[in-house]
Symmetry: C2
Subunit: 181 residues, 2 copies
């Protein structure tokens, strides 16, 4: 962040009076520009015991597999965002249920919220951000090809809970880029 989005003046980086962290401050219009974590919403869509996965057509992690997830937009709920992403990436309608995982990805300034979900009618397709979409049995999940640690964490907790007949909300935190990223 170099220039003030409000007035276009060059920004300074300093700790404002009464604050405790450095911020981008505009000496032109006196605006303080805060930076905050972004929300990613997604779901684990299940159909007949199998899980819907998408192979990513876009970076980062193009060619790797994920559950449908993406940046939450202003004006929608987490559940609406999760359902929208599933429709965009897998052309599938889902019923969003309870949250399965909340993952802090500290280095990326992101919080991932993943819900349990059920495919509405079993139908799906390949959205523009996907190379391939498929239903996987638990034993066939391509673990080494899962795109992100937050998704692997979510899927593992999902299957553990399912095996034990429970539904919990699991938290975890990742602090550095995975796999040499």
């Amino acid at each position: 962040m170099n220039f003030c989005p409000s007035c276009g003046a060059k920004l300074a980086r300093r700790i404002p009076e009464g604050d405790h962290l450095p911020r981008f401050v505009c000496d032109g219009c006196q605006t303080i520009h805060y930076e905050n974590p972004k929300l990613i919403a997604g779901c684990v869509p299940e159909s007949g015991g199998r899980i819907l996965l998408c192979r990513r057509a876009i970076e980062p992690r193009r060619g790797y597999w994920t559950v449908p997830a993406g940046f939450m937009e202003n004006g929608e709920t987490l559940q609406q965002a999760a359902a929208r992403e599933c429709h965009e990436e897998a052309l599938a309608r889902v019923g969003i249920e309870d949250p399965c995982a909340i993952v802090h990805v500290l280095h990326a300034h992101q919080v991932h919220v993943l819900f349990r979900a059920t495919l509405a009618d079993g139908s799906f397709g390949v959205g523009v951000e996907s190379l391939e979409v498929a239903l996987y049995d638990e034993r066939d999940i391509p673990w080494p090809e899962i795109a992100f640690p937050s998704i692997e964490f979510t899927l593992r907790r999902y299957f553990e809970d399912r095996a034990r007949g429970r539904r919990e909300l699991h938290f975890t935190t990742f602090e550095r880029p995975p796999r040499g990223g």
Copy 2:
């Protein structure tokens, strides 16, 4: 948002190719500037059955009561943010427990996440953003003076769950500014 934070050029507002929503787009450096909901983290601190409330010294809703809560920072977890806000606003150390409520405040582009918590040693004080800090029994909560609908929602669910000996995670959505705001 009028000017590009990256290069300082005037921004345009349009739907980028392959997107479905209008964004702020820089024709100078080609950057698309997305706007996303911000996270507010807070907690309901309990001590000996009573709840710690803060009377706000800052706008919005100066003079009204709230539980400790505020904008999440980059590089921290939701639980760390909730504990930090409690220390800043009420000079109190808390043990953060499970989440009690997630509230979508659509018109404000905010998601509020409120945890159950326990005061570590019963001590607290008045932080710089507070006029007054006090422990309240459930029957004494100043309901008409609670600052925000998300906080009233959280407190009501908290007390209901406590009365029934359960701990659930409650979702809700507010769609318009409350009280003529």
